[in-house]
Chain length 245, copies 2
């Protein structure tokens, strides 16, 4: 396992275990509520009520708002994805393009994806503006921290032919996370998902990065992959039929 | 001029002119403050204080929040752009690709662009999440209402070769409005802008829509065009040098 760079806790030298335990309890309870009731439907009062005697003041001592709690819950749930990403990047047996494909697949999996699914942001981005903005900022951070360096590796090892590594990384992450996945952008059906995948694959091909083996690419198969799994659940949530459940 | 579809005012049958006049005064004052102080720095109290005796209650009677006022100010400032767009779309002497190019150019101009410039959203999207979400929703709406139908026209008249008109329109608007323009995504310098433009032009070319005459495309010239003008001001605002001012 790769050591974590984030979430080490404030201070890091606390002799008293109590604050960490309290934070953990708050995050556990909040995560459970976000996953069962949904984020919008969960209030700070709900979280306090499920903490078995912990006061509102104690919760606010650690977190300013429900948004703050969500940030911490998300960061914690996302740690395994971050660890997998760091492992992929440092795996010297993979070529640049193999790393990009592995990172792409990895990012559609894991508890943070499950959480977003469970939270079911409404299809109105303005109603979920903070979550959208967080995803936007996160997409650019991941682009710069992981994808851009790997595109440069791919250019060096000849598996990628990008003239614009930074911009290509940004376009890949923004389109994958804010457009292809129906988190803020409703998806009508499987065929619309296939069109989005086809467009993303084509866009990345034009920018010198083949996310899939272009010659044998079949968008219909993406529906059964990890990104498709994520998309399927959102369609089901929107009241559509998921006949493969 | 094309008749407006939006902003006709609530009710539409009001016999009393007073509410409209009040709303107009509020919007005038708010617009002036947003343009001079910036959006984040303007408070509801500032707006009330500049309304010469109008009470806070009267302002809140018409608008729930500063965000609501901004929506109305933006919508009003954007009307000329909407009118130009409707005129371009109904201009039967233009081919599909000519309409797309004209719409693309038109959208970088006008009072709404001036307002965004003046508002100077910080480079942190989470701090400006509502504005980001509004731009995101707006990009998709413009894609569906204007660009997708025109791409279909272009396919019919042979000037565009898109297999995926809806998805191509969405990618064009999201990348142009949320990525190429440095509203939420800081731009270091002219060369970074040129790389973003090059990537967008290449992406659209791959999707069958030539935003520029591809054979003679020179990204450096974009800096002097309307999108470049918008980008230049944001760089200048970020403390960079604008040596062409």
């Amino acid at each position: 396992m790769i050591p974590m760079k984030t979430g080490a806790g404030e201070g890091g030298m606390a002799r008293n275990k109590y604050p960490e335990e309290t934070v953990k309890r708050i995050l556990d309870v909040a995560e459970e509520l976000f996953m069962t009731k949904g984020y919008e439907q969960t209030t700070m009062a709900d979280i306090v009520n499920h903490l078995g005697g912990l006061t509102k003041g104690a919760v606010y001592h650690h977190f300013k708002s429900k948004e703050d709690i969500f940030e911490a819950v998300f960061e914690r749930a996302n740690r395994p994805v971050v660890e997998r990403a760091e492992a992929i990047i440092s795996n010297q047996s993979l070529s640049g393009i193999e790393k990009i494909r592995a990172l792409d697949e990895s990012s559609a999996e894991g508890p943070s994806a499950d959480m977003l699914r469970a939270m079911r942001p409404s299809s109105d981005p303005v109603q979920n503006s903070r979550l959208l903005a967080r995803e936007f900022a996160d997409a650019l951070e991941v682009a710069h921290r992981y994808i851009e360096p790997v595109i440069r590796e791919g250019v060096a090892d000849g598996t990628v032919s990008s003239e614009f590594p930074r911009e290509t990384a940004e376009v890949m992450l923004l389109l994958a996370n804010l457009w292809m996945v129906p988190l803020f952008h409703p998806l009508a059906d499987e065929s619309e998902f296939e069109r989005r995948v086809s467009v993303l694959v084509r866009v990345m091909h034009a920018l010198g990065v083949d996310l899939v083996d272009w010659k044998f690419f079949d968008p219909a198969r993406m529906w059964d992959d990890s990104w498709g799994a994520l998309a399927r659940d959102f369609i089901a949530d929107d009241g559509g039929e998921d006949d493969r459940s």
